[in-house]
Symmetry: C2
Subunit: 229 residues, 2 copies
């Protein structure tokens, strides 16, 4: 399979983490969505990463569609390590929390931070590039605090975010947080439980390719790849 992605697209990172956990080989193709390449828009008229393409050319666009598709077509082999559980209660909670991070955390924290601090450096001025808007960055840095507390609160009664087992909920949260962590904007002192959970997920083999990532001219924060942060 081919994955059209961007190193700072948190939704793409979630797919890479899921592939890592499932041992699924894939080819990565970096896409700069702001360039709106006609060939990419043909794959997905919404023009967003990630987009997954099967060997036979079948296109699966968008994070919500991709996570369901991977589970439906390749999830069964994982047995009880499946990233989307098979019982109704588990499915509702995993989807609720994966959606929380893929949509709510994304809108309130990761999208604005990455847009202002990363994408605007690489975008030409006529496409919205330029210096970061500090008011937007301050708002996102404030918003992330209650999300960290929410993670910590969930983990008081649970082993992983959605229950006893690691799931898409954990991978989604970790994918978005890892992008923000690269920028040094995760307030790790805010919630001890959230920090312990992230240390646990960060040390998984599936996480290594993300931690090895460096952008030219914009090195990661010192804590980013440190497993003992």
């Amino acid at each position: 399979m081919q994955l059209y992605h961007h190193p700072f697209c948190a939704h793409s990172r979630l797919v890479r983490l899921a592939f890592g956990e499932m041992g699924i080989e894939h080819l990565l193709i970096e896409e700069r969505v702001w360039e709106r390449r006609p060939e990419f828009l043909t794959l997905d008229p919404a023009g967003t990463t990630p987009v997954l393409v099967e060997d036979d050319g079948f296109v699966i666009p968008g994070i919500d569609v991709i996570t369901e598709y991977i589970d439906e077509t390749r999830g069964a082999v994982l047995g009880d390590r499946r990233l989307l559980p098979t019982d109704s209660l588990g499915r509702v909670e995993v989807r609720r929390l994966a959606g929380w991070f893929n949509h709510k955390f994304f809108a309130e924290v990761s999208e604005p931070l990455i847009r202002e601090k990363v994408y605007k450096r690489y975008m030409p001025r006529e496409l919205g590039g330029g210096p970061p808007d500090m008011a937007v960055i301050r708002a996102a840095r404030s918003n992330i605090r209650y999300h960290m507390h929410y993670i910590g609160w969930l983990l008081k009664a649970r082993n992983w975010l959605a229950g006893d087992r690691m799931s898409y909920a954990d991978l989604a949260a970790a994918a978005h947080i890892s992008c923000v962590d690269y920028l040094g904007d995760v307030p790790w002192e805010e919630d001890e439980g959230a920090k312990i959970w992230y240390a646990r997920i960060k040390s998984r083999p599936a996480f290594r390719p993300l931690l090895a990532l460096t952008m030219a001219g914009m090195p990661p924060a010192p804590c980013y790849a440190d497993l003992d942060f």
Copy 2:
């Protein structure tokens, strides 16, 4: 089942349309999410409608989680009228397009229009109420045009938005468009194919409760309940 909804929440309308198509009895509870009622936030910490509650108290929050849940627990009885098809190709296309309207159309058109023209009338000033921002309304009115053309383009080769059969994709699109239509902001002259499709879905029995809806002090646009608009 109980559905916490708002008459102008397009995602709630989608659930009501699905229930109508499936003949599922339910109780409606109107929730004004901006009041942030503690009891409602206990049901769903995200604090958004719709939220579905089963007889036994099991809570299913959020449109993406609810549509999957309804199909998984009650979809099979519909046979080949199922709103989420059972084949991979169909599932990807229905989820892609339902997501298009539930997230993209929502962000670019229905959410800003309804926030500015409806919610801000009912919200106290300290919670963001007040006169509508005309610049936001103009942007949304401009955005809706390419969505109408996209609907028309899809229907050139298809019977319904995602393929041969009516699906969540059609109900999602119709739910969002119906909210905007109440406000008189759907440019029906823009795309003939889109208009014919909407006339077809609007005449279904499941649509009647939505067309009967009127808000005190804010009557619907004349075309809203007219099946021959």
